[in-house]
């Protein structure tokens, strides 16, 4: 006993700080205030300040006045194009996201890694380059232009040019979200359903689809937000012809060029409000997904 007591390391010494409970979770108030202040200041400088500036500016013009500028043929046609593109994005990416995610995760075939990498590429390059690439392919003097002229199809500077550009830039969102979920889930549940006598279609509708539902919705909403905000690709491929291929974003750009600031701010406000709405739904979905994942993974972790 007395030998143990003689060991210096076991004796409380001045170098070991007394432990307080609150020390574990709460740092010194000074650090907390400085760091929080730094973050809030940064957010204010980069994001909140500019956002409030837009709102104040529009409030000065009058929200009604700014929005009333949008009740005019060009603005309404631009909005119509944007809404059509939004709907096309929703449908196409809904289908491609579900099927593409499943194919890329659950199928094994040569070139799978390449296809998967290609699918991420639109996130990594400039929309202007995406527009340019299509222009060189199907535009005037492009590689496929003799063929397109022969069958009398015009894509560039028409609505279909806008569709191509938008589908390209929104390709990755839903496929990626669905892939992540499928990779995490594996095929255990499908195998169990089959063993219990479910038909392949029953398994698909009752097991696979419900599992990817939230991720698919999340990805499709991200794609929709992107399609609404896309500018570079639709400017290059559509040419922003007023009343024909102008979208909401190119309308803002052209209004600024023409010094028609009220209309530009009105449209900016409309887009900002709409995208905030999308973001609100996205945040809700994210929380729901986190909850279902916890439910799915929580117990298995404990038994493991």
């Amino acid at each position: 006993m007395h030998k143990l007591e003689a060991l210096p390391a076991l004796r409380p010494s001045a170098s070991v700080r007394p432990l307080k409970d609150d020390k574990l979770r709460a740092p010194s108030p000074l650090t907390r205030i400085v760091l929080s202040g730094l973050v809030l200041g940064y957010l204010g400088l980069v994001l909140l300040g500019p956002l409030s500036a837009l709102l104040v500016e529009i409030a000065e013009i009058g929200f009604g006045v700014a929005l009333s500028k949008l009740v005019d043929t060009t603005a309404l046609l631009a909005l119509k194009n944007s809404i059509l593109l939004l709907l096309i994005t929703m449908v196409v990416n809904g289908v491609v996201g579900a099927l593409g995610g499943i194919v890329l995760v659950r199928h094994r075939f040569p070139g799978r890694a390449l296809v998967s990498a290609l699918c991420d590429l639109p996130l990594a390059v400039s929309p202007v380059m995406i527009g340019l690439s299509f222009l060189l392919l199907i535009g005037k003097g492009g590689v496929l232009s003799p063929l397109l002229e022969a069958i009398n199809i015009k894509l560039v500077f028409t609505f279909w040019g806008l569709v191509l550009g938008t589908l390209f830039v929104t390709l990755p969102y839903s496929i990626r979200e669905v892939s992540y979920v499928l990779e995490e889930l594996g095929t255990d549940e499908e195998e169990a359903a089959t063993t219990l006598g479910a038909s392949p279609w029953q398994t698909f509708w009752k097991v696979t689809l419900p599992n990817i539902r939230i991720a698919l919705g999340y990805g499709v909403l991200m794609a929709m937000a992107r399609s609404l905000g896309e500018f570079g690709a639709v400017l290059v491929l559509g040419g922003s012809i007023s009343g024909q291929t102008q979208t909401a974003t190119t309308f803002i750009h052209d209004s600024i060029e023409e010094r028609n600031l009220d209309a530009a701010y009105g449209m900016s406000l409309l887009l900002a409000v709409f995208s905030s709405g999308l973001l609100f739904i996205l945040e809700r979905l994210k929380k729901r997904q986190a909850k279902t994942q916890k439910r799915a993974h929580g117990p298995s972790k404990q038994t493991a």
Binding site: L19, V39, V125, V128, L135, F168, T249, S275
Partner: protein, 278 residues
């Protein structure tokens, strides 16, 4: 016909779905980019080299690279800090702040540019104060950097946040019990866990910054050899009927983007996950 993905050994119906998906992605992505690279090198390597080394092109690519790198580094710092503060400290209106961080994901970048030029533009109160000090923000380089910071704001934060939540708090408690200072506890417990996410998020913001167009067009002023970035230069060359020049500079950016993308994927694999998308 069996539904897609039901079995690991696909039936004939599933094979057709697979072919459809693969050709959709191929036609939409691979074919146009192959044409871009083809046009860039059509007239030989010499012509390509000449086009990317003209004074205007070089300064545009240079500007895009250094602003992108700066934004990547700033994001690594402020993004990690933001994630940490959101993760750890009680903040007033925290859910709101957290949602605001995601806002640039959904707000059109053109609108982001409009916001910045209202706040910092030459006609605004702040803009006038700064220009009295001899600093121009809008139509100058600081405007470009602010715009890039705005559109890339969520990348590092959203990459780091989930990783912080996965760290076992017992490890930090152990460090503190053993006498580590809070800074040392962060450095030795949290930092090793989050640094791949920081790198991947900041590479993604660099990639995004290098391609940014909508907000830059509004705030930069696009003066050749001053505030003309590479994407805006490419757009100008398309408009003025020089598709080969546009394709050459575009291919150069494409190669840089591919390299960055590869590095980001490796970093992401090390964190084992997701969350770091544009």
């Amino acid at each position: 016909m069996k539904p897609v993905g039901f079995a690991l050994l696909p039936g004939p119906g599933e094979l057709w779905v697979r072919r459809g998906i693969v050709s959709y992605i191929g036609l939409l992505v691979l074919v146009p980019f192959s044409v871009l690279v083809f046009v860039a090198f059509q007239d030989g390597l010499g012509a390509f080299w000449e086009r990317i080394t003209s004074d205007v092109a070089l300064s545009a690519v240079g500007l895009t690279l250094w602003t992108g790198l700066l934004v990547g580094v700033l994001n690594a710092f402020f993004g990690t800090l933001t994630a940490w503060v959101l993760f750890r400290y009680p903040l007033p209106l925290k859910p709101l702040v957290s949602a605001v961080v995601d806002l640039p994901l959904s707000i059109p970048t053109l609108v982001a540019g409009v916001m910045l030029s209202i706040l910092y533009g030459p006609a605004s109160l702040l803009g006038q104060k700064f220009s009295a000090l001899g600093i121009d923000i809008i139509f100058a380089k600081p405007g470009i950097i602010l715009a890039l910071l705005l559109v890339t704001l969520p990348f590092v934060v959203r990459a780091v946040e989930p990783v912080l939540e996965e760290v076992d708090p017992a490890e930090e408690e152990a460090a503190v019990v053993l006498g580590a200072s809070p800074w040392r506890a962060f450095r030795t417990v949290y930092f090793p866990a989050i640094y791949p996410a920081v790198i991947s998020g900041s590479l993604r913001s660099l990639g995004r910054a290098m391609g940014e167009f909508g907000s830059i067009v509004i705030v930069a002023g696009n003066i050749p050899q001053e505030t003309l970035t590479a994407p805006v230069y490419i757009f100008g060359e398309i408009e003025s009927g020089h598709p080969a020049t546009a394709a050459s500079v575009g291919s150069l950016l494409l190669f840089i983007a591919l390299a960055l993308h590869g590095i980001a994927r490796i970093a992401e694999k090390r964190v084992g996950g997701r969350h770091a998308q544009a």
